[in-house]
């Protein structure tokens, strides 16, 4: 049986089911990260002293990662725009760049983490590092998840383009919504953890 409303929009919602599905999922993600941000606020306002992020963390590396993730959001939306223009080759280039930017982000994060571990700065060292590793670790897992989905659409999943290009374009749009959300979370994580 075919999945209903993957291409045609439902008359009652004016949307495809996939679009509603991804937004409901993102709503749950807002609450997940919201709970961790609330934990951060609770710990910070309750602490007698709290370190500035740049006492422990590398601001230039995090700034680089912010630029990389914003650039990846642009290439992601350009990948979708390429499909809307029916240019599959251009889509592959932009989607490949998005995956590459995600990889650069993770490599930079790896260097940051290994530096902390080398210095003995672990989640158990203090509350600041505990919430830093929890928030950035969860965010990193989301980057990996997004990269896996994007790699699928760049590779084996792209077969759908030949049989049902509109459905494929919709799928890439939904994957893009998740990727932009990951970028959006980082936009708030960066000043909260590194600069304040």
């Amino acid at each position: 049986m075919d999945i209903p409303y993957t291409v045609a929009v439902r008359r009652d919602t004016g949307l495809t089911n996939g679009k509603i599905g991804i937004w409901l999922f993102l709503a749950s993600e807002v609450m997940l990260f919201g709970a961790l941000f609330a934990s951060y606020i609770l710990m910070r306002v309750g602490a007698t002293s709290w370190p500035r992020g740049d006492m422990f963390l590398d601001v230039p590396l995090a700034t680089l990662n912010t630029i990389v993730l914003i650039a990846s959001s642009v290439t992601m939306v350009m990948a979708w725009a390429s499909l809307m223009r029916r240019r599959f080759g251009t889509f592959r280039i932009y989607m490949g760049a998005t995956i590459l930017f995600g990889l650069v982000f993770l490599v930079v994060k790896y260097f940051e983490y290994s530096h902390h571990i080398h210095l003995g700065e672990l989640p158990s060292t203090n509350n600041f590092l505990a919430i830093y590793f929890t928030l950035t670790g969860l965010h990193g897992l989301h980057v990996i998840g997004g990269m896996v989905v994007n790699a699928y659409f760049w590779g084996p999943g792209a077969k759908l383009w030949k049989t049902n290009p509109t459905w494929f374009t919709n799928r890439v749009e939904h994957s893009g919504l998740f990727w932009h959300f990951v970028d959006l979370v980082w936009i708030f994580l960066f000043p909260t953890l590194y600069l304040l």
Partner: protein, 108 residues
């Protein structure tokens, strides 16, 4: 292809071209705002002012991503309804730990 169909395709292309120009503009704006965020942090402002300014800039950046990259600026009503409910619960979630800190006015 009929003339009508050809016009439709052409209109669609122009529409996407317009979108692409917006994406590039938003990208430049996000880069500028990132530089501003880092530059402000170097002034070592008092914590309440630093938090307000940093979160204000982050909110502008987040809004740009949500409105243009996630196309929220022209989305259907149902999506706005889902986000309104999410936003209400998110604000409650963030406000709760702040209230606990306000000298026991809300929670003793």
């Amino acid at each position: 292809m009929s003339d009508h169909a050809a016009d439709m395709t052409s209109d669609h292309e122009v529409d996407i071209d317009k979108h692409v120009r917006i994406y590039i503009t938003v990208f430049v704006a996000l880069m500028v705002l990132t530089i501003i965020t880092v530059a402000i942090a170097r002034f070592h402002l008092p914590v309440p002012i630093a938090v307000t300014v940093a979160l204000l800039v982050a909110t502008v950046k987040g809004s740009l991503v949500a409105c243009y990259f996630m196309h929220l600026i022209s989305e259907k009503k149902l999506i706005y309804a889902v986000l309104a409910v999410t936003g209400a619960f998110f604000i409650a979630l963030i406000a709760l730990p702040l209230f606990t800190h306000s000298d026991g006015f809300w929670i003793h």
